[in-house]
Amino acid sequence: MTPNPCRETSRVVRARGVSHSFGIGALERQVLFAVDFYLDPGEVVILTGPSGSGKTTLLTLIAALRTLREGELTVLGCDVRHALAKERIELRRRIGFVFQRHNLLGFLTARQNVELMFQLHPDVSRREARARAETMLARVGLSDHRNHPPDQLSVGQQQRVAVARALVSAPRLILADEPTASLDGLSGRNVVELLLEVARDNDCSVLMVTHDARVLDAAHRIVHIEDGAIQS
């Protein structure tokens, strides 16, 4: 797996020798061992591995949610290790997140939950924000439900709202952490297909952590982590 130097600069994610530990002193436990990893524009990579293998840790490091102490990591052109707190927040605003649990705000309608993301992009007008939220909800098939609060939607519909929320501000990178965990087989498959479809339309890279064997065929590449090291 020799990285192509020509594509090097345009890579969405590039990690070299990334290690990470939790705890300090005698309790220190290393979870990632010199991980090398890359993600190209438009590429869909699925990260698999048993629980505790370090895949979620890698995801949070890429999301600049944890402080990187060892190794090099560049995400969307941002040197995560040396970035200031403010720059890391800026970086996160350019990433779309889909979590295991949708965590939608119960006091907002589906559309308002999606539209809320534009508060991070003050350059987008209110009218445009609303239009883009409605378009994205239509894209995930929830036009008729856009004015419903989350508790009036099924679990699958809620996760589709979460997908719309992640994609609405047209990010270059989607980080998804077991997005099918709370869904049954069919709706899980549907949500993932929808996510990948919309991502492909927008030329957006996707890094997805999942154990779900039914969705593996959707990836361009599958990376397997075990005991904090990449196996394939």
């Binding site: 927040i89 605003r93 979590f99 939608l104 705000l105």
Partner: protein
């Protein structure tokens, strides 16, 4: 919905019952603060009502008096030295004492303050007293219309039947009319008469020993300079103050000697803390309840400052929602207090504004404490 404001309002108004409970907490706090401060101010202001009505430029009191309500006497002859100064126009004396009023309807005695002064020249603003004729005739007095009800239906009786007789200090006197001056926490009622009639009620008092000397000086004179000139003329047996000094002195004495400030100040602080605790509880529950969502917002790039704005906006909304009804309720309670303790309470703009600021501070302070829970939420834990 492009700001934290809109989001704050949606979160707050999502559960109207909760919003109502939170606002009710602020209402109680605002009302408590306004009422406690109002009574505190009213009690002090009313207690110095007589001193406040003095129109004399300078006032002479005994150096051993700590307040004119519990004055000791000084020799009247000292007062007559003062017109030697060219700036002094007139001097007049006031006698004060506590007597027993017999409620003529019930036959029960109740203490009353008696003032002896010259209605025509005493420099006191007692509205209408100058127009009442025949006060110089023996045993005639004017009743204070703001006296408490312990003295009987005096005003109604005056209105319906005119002057009537009762007993003060065991002596038959005629109450000819009423003027509205005011009572205090220490004094339930007043009657006003001439010095001669005052002496008739207090046979043991000597006319040469007076409680208050009122001095009027020429217009435009420098009061402090005149006061400084007059002081040596009085010698060590009397003390001379400007009217403002006397008022300050009276208020300072009340503040330090009556527990008014402490009791009602304490009530105000309690109101503030009730509001703080209620608003904090509501906001904290709201934040805790939405912790995973708030952590998600943080993970997607919302800042701690945005979350602070969100909670502070909610706090400000609660302050406004609580302040208006709290203010109106306090006004209502002022009216009730007026009819129950017969002291006028006025809502001053300073107090309304001060309590408004305190309410906003109280809510923002609660928000500041409650938001820390959201700040501690680790966005990495959402994964």
């Amino acid at each position: 919905m492009n700001t934290a404001l809109g989001l704050a309002w949606r979160q707050l108004s999502h559960q109207p019952a909760k919003l109502l409970a939170a606002s009710a907490g602020v209402v109680v706090a605002v009302m408590l603060m306004l009422v406690q401060l109002g009574i505190r101010e009213g009690a002090v202001r009313n207690s110095v009502a007589f001193a406040g009505r003095l129109t004399a430029d300078l006032v002479v009191i005994s150096p051993t008096s700590d307040t004119i309500f519990r004055s000791t006497q000084f020799p009247r002859r000292l007062l007559y030295r003062l017109p030697a100064d060219p700036a002094v126009i007139t001097v007049s004396e006031v006698y004060m004492g506590q007597a027993q009023w017999k409620n003529p309807w019930l036959g029960i005695e109740h203490p009353i303050s008696v003032y002896g002064l010259h209605p025509d020249r005493a420099k006191v603003d007692l509205p209408g007293l100058g127009q009442i004729h025949g006060l110089e005739r023996a045993d005639r007095f004017v009743f204070d219309a703001l006296s408490r009800t312990n003295y009987g239906p005096v005003i109604a009786s005056l209105d319906e039947h005119g002057p009537f007789y009762t007993e003060v200090n065991g002596r038959r006197v005629q109450i000819v009319d009423a003027v509205a001056v005011g009572v205090s926490i220490a004094v339930d009622g007043n009657i006003y008469g001439t010095p001669a009639n005052f002496m008739r009620l207090f046979p043991s008092r000597h006319a040469g020993a007076i409680d208050l000397g009122l001095v009027q000086v020429v217009d435009g004179a420098d009061l402090h300079a005149v006061r400084a000139r007059l002081e040596p003329m009085l010698g060590p047996e009397a003390r001379i103050l400007t009217k403002d000094q006397l008022l300050e002195h009276e208020i300072a004495f009340l503040r330090s000697n009556a527990p008014v400030d402490f009791i009602f100040g304490m009530g105000t602080v309690v109101g503030f803390f009730i509001g703080f605790v209620v608003v904090y509880q509501i906001l904290y529950t709201e934040v805790s309840h939405h912790l995973p969502q708030l952590a998600t917002l943080k993970a997607t790039g919302f800042t701690d400052r945005y979350l602070l704005r969100l909670v502070v906006w909610q706090a400000l909304m609660l302050s406004c929602l609580g302040y208006v009804p709290g203010f109106l309720l306090a006004l209502g309670l002022y009216r009730i207090a007026e009819s129950q303790i017969q002291m006028p309470f006025a809502m001053t703009p300073e107090r309304a504004l001060g309590v408004g600021v305190a309410t906003v501070l109280m809510c923002c302070f609660s928000a500041g404490v409650a938001v820390r829970r959201a700040w501690q939420a680790d966005p990495a834990e959402v994964f």
